[in-house]
Amino acid sequence: MKVLVIIPAYNEEENILNTCNEIKKLKIKEHQVDYVVINDASKDNTKQVCINNQLNLIDLPCNLGIGGAVQTGYKYAYMNDYDVAIQFDGDGQHNASYIKDLLDEISNGNDLVIGSRYISDLNTFRSTAMRRVGSNILRWLIKICTNIEVTDPTSGFRACSKKVIEEFAKDYPIDYPEPETVAIIAKKCYKVKDIPVEMNERQGGTSSINALKSVYYMIKVGLAIVFAGLFTKGDVK
């Protein structure tokens, strides 16, 4: 299968090269793994680092936010006829060795495979109490609205089948897209599955969610899930 790893990057000059090298090192049987970096108008030297190291780069002229950046990757995957797209953060949080596991589940016929921090026993990812509470509320909301269970709806480490690539290329939320897209895809009767992954602590840069934004985050994402549950038409694929 033709696989595209989408790496959204905003101010990631320190991490982006390592991340791409990790992807380049990957050799997975029967799959051709490409990657693309989406530079979301970073204010630091991310663009220059990418060009100097001849990374495969899409350089956005304006800052779109994570949703818009990632969607660019899905559009690129759609235009270039990729079979699978994998979202992979540019900040070194995700572990490239799990890409194979995600791909296996896509090969097994799943449409959206989410790398979850909360299944694995050997997980070292230290999550704050608040974060877990928020995550649990979203899990519960998704369960009620779409009748599926995902353990880590906020995870940005995920693989999509060709059909889901097309859906995302057409429509993708602007900000905090992860839980909302899970709800939409589940509601459209695609197969969603989560598998255990380990995530690293951030290697540099700052998280996109601070304490002040978290209230807005919960309201926006919660409402988005409810709306997706109520108004997404469930056409059976």
């Binding site: 989406i38 899409i58 350089d59 956005l60 002229p61 779109l64 969607q71 660019t72 559009k75």
Partner: protein, 116 residues
Amino acid sequence: MPLRLELFLILLILVFIILIIGRVKSKKLSLNYSLLWLFFGIVMFICACSEPLLSKFANLLGIKEVSNMIFLFGFVLLITLTFTLTTIVSLQNKKITSLVQEVGILKKDLRGKKND
């Protein structure tokens, strides 16, 4: 309402309507967005012209003071306007996002062609 005030209001509204038409004519305001404003202007014009009609209408709605009715309508109109604007902004946001993404992808293609 004293005649002087009435004339002053009518004059003000006429200037307002002429301003809208002028903007549309010079293509600074697109016709479809001007319709709401024109409608607003015409309603105001009618209101300013006939005070008895206004008090009759207020009576009909059960509003005691004509001025209260005017305030109410003013609020409703402003809310409608801002709501329309938010809708337009959302739509434009979507279009701009699409454009930025396409430009990004095109820039990449162009770089690829130059390197060949």
